[in-house]
């Protein structure tokens, strides 16, 4: 690992100022992706800004809305009585990220800022139309995700919280890579007051995306059979040693039906 300066500010303002002061400073949340990246020398920041002491951890349940601080860990979300009761699909998703040790340290804000195309959270955020709250503004999920490892965040902008509208029904179905536990394909289905939203992670060349054909079909009938015959364009799928584009396109259909069955269970 290349060496760097380490800072641990105690206010959001100080953290943003530190990020802005140096163009190649980077924020460190849980570090479950970032530290392995540093170990492989894939990134060489001059300064690392540790976000641990900013007080951004916590879960608040309000009317029809769950607000989760950016530094809240996957384990805390999976174990939260409020999340389990009002939005169990999110607790399930969080409880199946990585392994126990990753869930103790990995955070929702870190995962979203990184926007790994195989990460789980982006699907929940996009499927519910959640709001990303940052140090300077509020971003809708549809505006936030901008392709593989790319978001609407400015270089010196920090996610402070995520606000999820509580869905009427929702479920997440993941086909996990057996080694990494990342999603080969993950489908998040959410029945929202304004209609059904379906978000797919792991599969697309440009990261998480909404499956509009499935959404239209499920708006007519919220049942697995409604997805019969709905195609997922193969040329939009990612292909790697773990699975071809055609394989992933097929898995999207299979996992979407499983998500739907579990949303109706």
């Amino acid at each position: 690992m290349y060496d760097f300066q380490y800072q641990k500010p105690t206010t959001i303002e100080a953290a943003v100022a530190a990020l802005a002061a140096e163009g190649d400073a980077k924020a460190l949340a849980g570090g479950m992706t970032f530290i392995p990246v540093l170990k492989q020398r894939l990134n060489q920041p001059s300064t690392i800004i540790d976000l641990t002491d900013l007080g951004l951890s916590g879960i608040a349940l309000e009317a029809g809305k769950i607000s989760i601080g950016a530094m809240t860990t996957h384990g805390a979300i999976a174990g939260s009585a409020d999340v389990k009761k009002s939005f169990p699909a999110l607790a399930y998703l969080a409880g199946n990220i990585g392994d126990r040790q990753v869930r103790y340290r990995g955070t929702i804000g870190g995962s979203l800022a990184n926007n790994d195309p195989s990460a789980c959270y982006p699907s929940a955020v996009l499927a519910t139309g959640a709001t990303i709250v940052t140090s300077q503004r509020r971003l809708s999920a549809d505006d936030f995700f901008q392709g593989m490892f790319t978001t609407a965040l400015d270089p010196a902008e920090l996610i402070t919280a995520v606000e999820f509208p509580v869905p009427e029904r929702a479920a997440y179905a993941k086909f996990a890579n057996p080694a990494s536990r990342y999603a080969m394909v993950g489908v998040f289905v959410a029945k929202m007051p304004g209609g059904v939203r379906v978000a797919i992670t792991g599969a697309g060349q440009n990261g998480v995306f909404r499956h509009r054909a499935m959404e239209a079909a499920l708006d007519k009938a919220f049942a697995p059979a409604a997805l019969d015959g709905i195609e997922t364009p193969v040329d939009l799928m990612n292909a790697d040693i773990h699975g071809s584009a055609a394989y992933r396109a097929h898995l999207v259909g299979v996992m979407a039906k499983r998500a739907l069955e579990s949303a109706l269970a």
Partner: protein
């Protein structure tokens, strides 16, 4: 370079470290606690798991500076003042839950956390799922699962899964 002060196996430790020093390197190289192993470079194998403030953490995926102020327990810290093995260590020996032993320190640290956080009992499925962050290439896991199930009653001083029933 940053100075850190932490408690390792109930003893204070203070050191000046490079920002980039991983916790596992600090434990092994600066403190000589080589029971914690490095088995991979990808955060997958779990041989480096230690307890930080009561939670099992992969010490290869955490900077030493991030452990400033923390209470760290490594495999060396489990043994009692009288030299007695921790019940989890004793059950790993009893049930032959290791062959080469390389994964064992991390496996034991994870297993203790798993048992401590499940006072209501643990099923075989929960044990297998709970240890998915630890890879063993020798045993095929069966004896590890048996050892963890056998350690539960010793740690909670009641039969396993009685609380759940």
């Amino acid at each position: 370079m940053p100075q850190i002060s932490l408690t390792v196996n109930q003893k204070p430790a203070t050191a000046v470290v490079e920002s980039r020093t991983l916790l596992v390197e600090f434990l092994r190289t600066s403190l000589g606690l080589t029971g914690t192993n490095i088995g991979c470079d990808t955060s997958q194998c779990g041989a480096c798991v230690v307890s930080i403030d009561g939670k099992s953490v992969k010490s290869c995926t955490m900077l030493a500076v991030q452990a400033d102020g923390a209470h760290v327990t490594t495999i060396e810290g489990l043994i009692g003042a009288d030299g007695a093995l921790h019940p989890m260590q004793a059950m790993f020996r009893e049930h032959h839950a290791l062959q080469c032993g390389f994964c064992t320190p991390g496996m034991i640290m994870s297993a203790i956390d798993l048992v401590e956080t499940h006072p209501e009992g643990l099923t075989e499925d929960q044990i297998r799922h709970g240890l998915e962050g630890n890879i063993c290439r020798c045993t095929g896991y069966h004896n590890i699962v048996r050892a963890v199930a056998a350690a539960w009653p010793l740690m909670h001083k009641q039969p396993i899964n009685q609380a759940a029933e």
